[in-house]
Structures are given as structure tokens and as C-alpha cells.
Symmetry: C2
Subunit: 182 residues, 2 copies
């Protein structure tokens, strides 16, 4: 859960980071940035900000923003009916970004959030530079984390069904609840 004020501040901050990274976003589009806390209610630690440029029944193109040291939890994109599952390519644009994928444990720059060892099973670290990209096939687990400056990246994919993604952490709810202030 996040409050309306938290959401609004996160949208503004994400838009500023996008512009710093050279990505165009109109003032009228800032309200459309999705602020995702994965139902964990500690956005700054585990969360992501998503600006969707395109989303159809066939394709999606998004800009993802991570605040400094923010982590997007470990997940995968399963088959849904006739769709074999989301195929996704991420391309790093700006900032400090590392991905965790299948492979031997070579974790060096990143960290696992406190008491979350079991929610992050992948420890093979890929530190990306701007312009670097990675492709994930359906069911291929991954998670990613920003370093001290935060990160801005693209996600290009087949159709998106975020609500049906799989997560290692059983506490996660993909749909973020936004609450009015008390």
C-alpha cells in the first residue's frame, strides 16, 4: 500500500529521472506513471516506476525507473492461454543497474534486502552499461536492482499481463493499492 501523496511524489521523481536520462515525457503524462510497491509497502526498498509508451494485445514498450538502491523483485512471465508468455528485452539507458539471472553466484555490487534471502534465489550478477541489453524468454526468472544513482531502462516486450506474473516472494501482490491519507 502507498498513499496518494507517496504516489504523486514518486511519479514526479521518476519523471525527473527520465528527463535527466534524455527520455521525453510530457507534463500530461506524469500522472500516467505507474508506481508499484508489489504490495510490500516499502516502495523505496522494493518497487518500480513504470511509464508505458505502448501496450496492445501484441506488444508493449515501457520505460522503467528505479530509485537509488531500489529493487524489482524476482519474477517470471508464464504462459497465459494461447500466449506462450511474455518475451522481454531490456536496454539500459542511464544510471547504475545490475540484473540477476540464472548462473553461478558472482554477486559483488548488489545486495539482498534484509530478511529476504529466500525471495531472491538468483545470484548471478550482470552489471549493465548504458546501451547494454538482455533478453528474457517466457519463464526465465530475473530480478534487478539500481545502484547509488538509480537507473532508467527500456522494456520492450510482447503483450503484458503483469497481474499474472510469477514471483518468488509469496507476499507479493502485483497490483498496488493506493490509499487516501488518514
Amino acid at each position: 500500500m502507498i498513499t496518494r501523496i507517496e504516489k504523486s511524489k514518486a511519479q514526479q521523481r521518476a519523471a525527473e529521472m527520465m528527463r535527466q536520462a534524455g527520455i521525453q515525457i510530457g507534463d500530461h503524462e506524469i500522472d500516467l506513471i505507474e508506481v508499484v510497491d508489489f504490495g510490500l509497502s516499502h516502495l523505496e526498498t522494493e518497487g518500480v516506476q513504470v511509464f508505458t509508451m505502448v501496450s496492445t494485445q501484441r506488444i508493449a514498450a515501457k520505460v522503467l525507473v528505479l530509485f537509488p538502491n531500489q529493487t524489482e523483485p524476482e519474477h517470471w512471465h508464464p504462459q497465459v492461454g494461447d500466449d506462450p508468455g511474455k518475451q522481454e528485452t531490456v536496454r539500459h539507458i542511464w544510471g547504475d543497474l545490475r540484473f540477476y539471472v540464472a548462473g553461478d553466484d558472482n554477486m559483488k555490487e548488489g545486495f539482498i534486502a534484509q530478511d529476504k534471502e529466500s525471495a531472491y534465489t538468483l545470484r548471478h550478477e550482470r552489471v549493465l552499461k548504458p546501451g547494454d541489453q538482455l533478453t528474457f524468454e517466457p519463464y526465465e526468472k530475473h530480478w534487478f536492482q539500481a545502484g547509488p544513482r538509480g537507473a532508467v531502462l527500456y522494456s520492450f516486450s510482447t503483450t503484458v499481463r503483469d497481474g499474472l506474473d510469477g514471483f518468488t516472494d509469496p507476499d507479493i501482490q502485483r497490483i498496488t493499492v493506493v490509499k487516501d491519507e488518514d
Copy 2:
């Protein structure tokens, strides 16, 4: 037909325009920019430069660069076998850009290349600002043109089969021939 030197110069110029627009491209990626003269052998008038970030059997994400006053000819994306045809969203990033789509003739900023009246049937002009975007369904004809500064834009789409696109101009060959200097 273009020469190797023309191709190399156009790649360098397109990369500089992308960077000016805030789009990351690595030095090792400049050689991968496709320079397309549509078989018309006057690249500066009718042509496009294409940097492909992603291209799979399901999706594609590209950056298109138009030099000042360069025009991408009128075309459409037909059905191919089981694929209902390319669905494409373009998003303007930087520079002066107008699209021509179905509708009444309101052409004001753009122009038709000399002796090419019959190759450009659409005259409904949409002048885009950075951040503006348009979506084209399969078979939906369109063409576009840069103004005095040139233009940089994204194209997000389902799978690309450029060689099978339809063009109004019967002289067009989508695959550009690159020739060594004499």
C-alpha cells in the same frame, strides 16, 4: 544504390543525431545502423536510417532517423501467412516531424518530392511534437517527413518483415544495394 562511403557517412550522421536527441548508442553499434534508400538512389530526398534495438519473431523496437527534409515513402504492412500484419506505434523524440495518414487534405508544412505526386496519395498532415505518438494497424497506409532539423523517433511494433511491406511507388525496392566505389 548507395556507395560504402555514403553508407558510412549516413551512419555517423544518424548516430550523432540520436545522441543529440538523448538516445544511447554505443560506438560499436554505429555500423549496425541500416541506411535505406528504397532503391531510389537519392538517399537525402527519400530514405531513412534505422537503428534496431530489438527484432524477434514477435516484436521489434527501433529508432528511426530522418535527415533534414528527408521523406520515408508511403507504405503499409500487409498480412504475411498466419501473422495478421505489423502493428506499429511511432513516438516522436526529437526534431521536426510530420506524418501523413488517411483523411482530408490539410497539408501545410510538408511537401511532395518533385515528379512524385502519384507515389504519395495521403495528404492528411499530423505535425508531431516530442512525446506525441501514433499507432498504425496492418494495411493502414502512412508516410512521414522531417522538417529543417531532421527527426528522431521510436518505432515499436510486432515482428518486422520489411522486405514484404507494400509501397505506393512501384519503383521502390526495400532492400538497399550497397556498392563499392568505382
